[in-house]
Symmetry: C2
Subunit: 230 residues, 2 copies
């Protein structure tokens, strides 16, 4: 049986905001996995005593105490990056995971108050499109994915309450939405508007199809509705 | 003298996360202004006893107590929107401000933990490009703008420490950056990479020029470096 558990599952722990209870529940929910710490993502792992298989980064944003704590552990593969580099540590971690055969990569700690980092990490979802690998950014309020070919969302597997569609390309052409509260038929979704925000799934499953363009798909929930079930 | 104070300055208070001390300092820093509350942005205004000139929304996400509190005030212009509508309240507020002759619109409360709302609001910056009106999203960590023609950033007017450039279009062509720690010369900035994140201004002023495309420009600071000076 090919389920999510059988896929080559990678988790990248980045240095943004992490809600520990949420992130631990996510990690514990998957038995077979590879965990990569991207630089200051190490802080979350240390305070929760989780040992990653791989640590990558230039180590300019992790505390020396945390760095030493992991250096004493056996069986960790280290990738030391040059601090003067073009790519972020998260980008390097994603590229490494793909080179190791990842089929699904979940980035935890890729969001937070620095919105340049958030947008930079959303850009990185496109590396997954190019490589044919599924990548998602996940936090307690959002699951963010990118698609160039549409998507089926089963209500029972949905993350949160809302589904929002943001055009990554200037246009997403011939967009059809079925199974949603606000359906669309052969619509050209363009940027500079908020039409795709806060849709909801009303059927057992919802389907997003389109013929040209790239969509950012965000499943989200408000703080009030937040639980740590995922 | 034409300074920022002489422009037709509009503030839109949206329903996302607002740090009160920061937002109040921003509002108090501008003498002549029009304040528009977009739906649950009213909550911030009520708890700080600020009376907006205009309230707009479908009022589905504001508490009844707050709604009643404002209904008792004189001299507020109300725009009641249909709750089944395509646009968000923030989009309606931006379009209203532009129709009233706004020259610079600052959106407070346009960010927060719901990243679909954040991305939806970043899309709205493009309405400013189309209308020739400056729009910015502002929170305690980020100032987010969009440009289709480049920008000059004076160090003394910079918001925070970092400047990040995210391509809104698939390509931003012939990009030149001067006055930055990481300059660029005639570069084609493409999506799906993190190259433009976390640059810094090293000269008195920095200049961003390009010939084709649209850029998202984010000035940001970490929490640790946060002060309420703006």
């Amino acid at each position: 049986m090919m389920g999510a558990e059988c896929m080559k599952r990678f988790f990248i722990i980045s240095g943004g905001k992490i809600e520990d209870t949420f992130a631990k529940a996510v990690l514990n929910g998957v038995a077979e996995k590879t965990v990569i710490a991207a630089d200051s993502g190490m802080e979350f792992l240390r305070r929760n005593e989780i040992i990653p298989q791989i640590i990558i980064g230039d180590f300019d944003s992790v505390s020396s105490g945390t760095l030493e704590w992991f250096q004493k552990k056996d069986d960790i593969i280290w990738h030391k990056l040059n601090p003067v580099k073009d790519d972020t540590d998260t980008e390097s971690a994603i590229r490494l995971a793909i080179s190791m055969g990842a089929e699904l990569i979940t980035v935890l700690g890729g969001t937070g108050s620095r919105l340049d980092h958030v947008l930079g990490n959303i850009e990185l979802l496109g590396i997954g499109l190019e490589a044919g690998v599924k990548i998602e950014l996940l936090d307690a309020n959002n699951r963010i994915r990118m698609t160039d070919c549409g998507m089926i969302l089963k209500k029972e597997e949905q993350f949160g309450k809302y589904v929002s569609l943001i055009p990554y390309t200037a246009k997403v052409e011939h967009l059809c939405l079925t199974g949603f509260k606000y359906p669309l038929d052969d619509y050209c979704l363009k940027g500079f508007c908020s039409l795709g925000v806060s849709n909801e799934i009303t059927e057992k499953q919802a389907e997003i199809t389109f013929e040209k363009g790239i969509l950012i798909v965000i499943e989200s929930r408000d703080d009030a509705a937040m639980t740590y079930e995922i």
